[in-house]
Amino acid sequence: MRRAGPVLLVALGLPACSDGSAPGGAPELGSVVGRVAGETVTLAEVDTRAHGVVTRLLGRIEAAQQATRARLAAERLAAREAAGEPVPEAWRDAGRIALPEEEVDAALRESGLTADDPTARTLVRALLHHERLRVARRRVAADLAERGLVAVSGAEIEQAARLVLFQQRGRIVAEARRRFEVIADEILLRREAARRGSDPAALLALVEAGAAPVAEEEVRRFAAQRGAPDAVPEGVRALLEMRARLRAREDLLATLRARTPPVFLLASPEPPRFPMDVQRAADAAGVALLVVFSNWRCQRCEDTERVLDALVAGPLGASVRLVRRPFSLAPDPAFFADAVAWRCVVEQGREVAFHAGLRELLGGRGRSRRLDAPVERVSDSDALAGVRLGRTLVPDTRGYDACLASAATHGRVLGERDEGERIGFARVPAFLVNGLPLVGFQGRERLEAVLRSEAAAH
C-alpha cells in the first residue's frame, strides 16, 4: 500500500489552502502549510512525517469512491430497467436471485427464530433476497462502470460520497496538523536553544532537571486522591517524577508558543448537508428538524434515547421536530423485524406506545456498561419481540399482519436503510440536524449545541 512520492499533494488537491499559498490550482511541494516564528513549514516536510497515515486514508477515499461508483451505476441501471429501457444482459442475470429454502432455514436458525413461524420466514426471506440482490447487482454494476458501459462522472461520485469524503479528508488535514505541531515545537525549541547558546537536547535536559522533586507526602496524597490507596508507591513516584518533567517541558513549550504562536494554514473541508423532503415542513413551522437513524437494540441506541428524552423535555424541546428512522446497516433479521413492525404500528397510530414498550421489553440493551460486565445478548426468543408487541397494540390485527407480510412495507423499510447508506451512514445511531449529518453517539450537550448553532444560522 506504500505510495511513491508526496501523498499530501494528492490529498490536498481536494481541500484548499486558506492563505492563498496555492491559489487556483493544485498545491506544490514547496507550498507553505504553516508558519512558525518567521520560518515556513512546507508541504514536503509535513508529507515526510505523515506519509503512512495519509497513504492509508487516501486508500480509504479511493475505496469509498469505487463503492459509490458501483452504487450509482446500480441505481442508474435500476432506473433504466424500471422505465422499460434496455439494460445489459449481465444486469438482468444478476436480478435472478435463487434463494434456497435451506439458506432461509439457516438464517432463521442463526437469528434464533422458529423455522415454522410464517411471519419470521416471510421477513427473513425478504431481507435475504434484498441483500443478495443488492450485492449481486452492485458487483455487476461496478464491472459495467469499470468497462465504461455505464457512465458515472467524478463529479457525481464526489457529490454522492460527500459525507465519507469530508470525514476522510478532514482526518488527513487533522493528521497534517498533528505533524505540523510537532515540527513547530522543534523549531521553537531550536530557536530558543540557539538564543541561549545551547542545543535543543541540552535545553530540555536543563529544563527537566529543574523540575521540583516529589515528596513522600505527595505520593501518598496522589494515590489517595485517585482512589488507588493500594497503588505501589514506587510506581506512583516514578509516574509523578515523569509527570513533573513533562510539565516542565510543556511549560517551556507553552511559553514559546505563546510568544510566537505557530500558524497552521491548511483549511478543513466544508461539512456537507443532506436536506430531506420533510425539511420544508419543519422550516415552515419554524422548528429544527432532527432525524434520528437508530434502532432499539444497538449499543448506544438506548443511551441515545435517554439523551433524546432529556432534549425533548428541556428548553429546546419545543423548537425541535423529531423524525425517526428505525435503521441498521447490518442486515440482521431482528433489527429488520422491529423496523417492519414499527412501520405497521405507525400506520395505525400506535408508534408512541410501541417505542416505549419495545424499549422496556429489551431492557435497555443499548446502555453503556463496564467492560467486565456480562454482555446482554438479545435472547433467542425475542428477535420477534417488536412484531409481537405491535400485535398487542394495534386495533386492527388483521391489517397489521397483512402489513407485516407486505412487500411494499419491506421495500419501504429497506428503502429507508438505503437512504441512510446513500447519506454515508455506516453506523448507528446517526442524525441529521436540518440536513447536517452527525455520525455515531452524540451527547446531549453536543446535540443542543448543534441545534442552537442551526437556530442562530437561520
Binding site: A174, G235, S268, A330
Partner: protein
C-alpha cells in the same frame, strides 16, 4: 510533544545483535498451522462490530464465511485467514486464550493451555489494560511488567514444541487513540468525550480517558506506555537470542497509526473492525510468515 525514551532499549538491541551472530542454533521453524492467541479485549474483537466479543473480526483469530458475508460483517483478513491462505487448511487449529480485561499478570495463566494445544505460533498482545487502569496511580512499574514478560516467555520456551514461534505485539499508543477519537467530533463524528464522561460509572481506561485528567497526566501515561513497550521488546529480543528451541519475535504496535475510523463507534476505545484489519496487516507483514 511526545516523551522520549531512554537507553534501556539500546542495551537490549545491542545484546540481541550480539546474540543473532553468536546465539545457539535452533531447529527449523514450524509452519504456523496451529495458532494460539493470548491477549485481551483487542484480541477478542470486543465492540469492534457488534457489542461484545467479535471473534470473526479479531485481528488474529478472525474468520469470514457464509454467515459473516450474509450479515455484512467485515472481512479483516486476520492472521488466521492469512495462515490458511498461505499454508492451507489441513491440520489447522485456531485457539483463542485471550480474555477481556487481561493484563500482563494474566499472561502465564493464558499460556498454561499450550501444553495440550501444542501450537506452532503463539501470538501475545497484552499491556493495553496495564496502561488503561481506572486511575493513573494504579499503573504498574516497568519492572513489574518486565517480570511478567520474562516469566511468561520462559514458560513458553520450555513448553512449546521445538521450532515454534512466539510473536509478541507491543502495546498500541493509547494516547494517539485518545487524540484521534476526540477529533472525530469536529468531523461530524462520534462524541467520544460524552462516552468517556461515563468513566466515573466504570468505563475502562480512566487513566487515559477520564476527562478529569490533565494533558500532563495523559502524557505521563503515554510515557509509561512507551516504557512498557521498551521492556517488553527488550525481554523478547533477549529471549530469542538465548533460546535454543523457540523463535521469539517482537512486533511494534506503536507504529500502527490509528485514525478516527479505526476506533470503535460503540465505545470510542477499542479498535473498530477497520482497526482490527490494520493490526492484522501490521502483525502479519512484520511477522516471520508474511508478507
Amino acid at each position: 510533544m511526545r516523551f522520549r525514551r531512554f537507553g534501556l532499549l539500546a542495551l537490549g538491541i545491542s545484546l540481541a545483535l550480539l546474540g543473532s551472530h553468536c546465539g545457539p542454533h535452533k531447529p527449523p521453524r514450524l509452519n504456523p498451522l496451529r495458532l494460539y492467541a493470548m491477549g485481551d479485549s483487542i484480541t477478542t474483537g470486543f465492540d469492534s462490530w457488534f457489542v461484545g466479543n467479535n471473534s470473526a473480526v479479531s485481528w488474529v483469530n478472525g474468520f469470514h464465511g457464509f454467515w459473516e458475508s450474509l450479515l455484512g460483517i467485515p472481512d479483516v483478513n486476520s492472521v488466521n485467514q492469512r495462515i490458511t491462505a498461505r499454508f492451507g487448511s489441513s491440520g489447522r487449529t485456531n485457539v483463542r486464550a485471550a480474555q477481556n480485561g487481561a493484563r500482563w499478570d494474566a499472561a502465564l495463566s493464558q499460556a498454561a493451555s499450550v501444553v495440550g494445544e501444542t501450537p506452532h505460533l503463539v501470538t501475545v498482545m497484552l499491556g493495553g489494560n496495564d496502561v488503561c487502569r481506572d486511575s493513573i496511580a494504579d499503573l504498574p512499574t516497568a519492572a513489574e511488567i518486565q517480570g511478567h514478560v520474562r516469566t511468561t516467555l520462559d514458560w513458553l520456551d520450555a513448553q512449546l514444541p521445538a521450532g515454534a514461534t512466539v510473536q509478541v505485539i507491543g502495546i498500541p499508543d493509547v494516547k494517539r487513540l485518545h487524540d484521534v477519537a476526540r477529533d472525530e467530533k469536529g468531523l461530524l463524528g462520534i462524541d467520544c468525550e460524552a462516552i468517556w464522561s461515563t468513566v466515573d460509572l466504570g468505563f475502562p481506561c480512566g487513566s487515559m480517558l477520564d476527562p478529569a485528567n490533565s494533558e500532563q497526566d495523559r502524557l505521563a501515561v503515554q510515557a509509561m506506555n512507551l516504557l512498557y513497550n521498551d521492556v517488553i521488546q527488550q525481554e523478547v529480543v533477549l529471549k530469542n537470542a538465548a533460546s535454543t528451541r523457540v523463535y521469539f519475535k517482537f512486533s511494534d504496535a506503536e507504529s500502527v497509526q490509528f485514525t478516527g475510523d479505526d476506533v470503535s463507534s460503540i465505545d470510542c476505545f477499542h479498535p473498530s473492525a477497520q482497526g482490527q484489519e490494520l493490526i492484522a496487516f501490521y502483525a502479519w507483514t512484520d511477522g516471520p510468515f508474511g508478507p
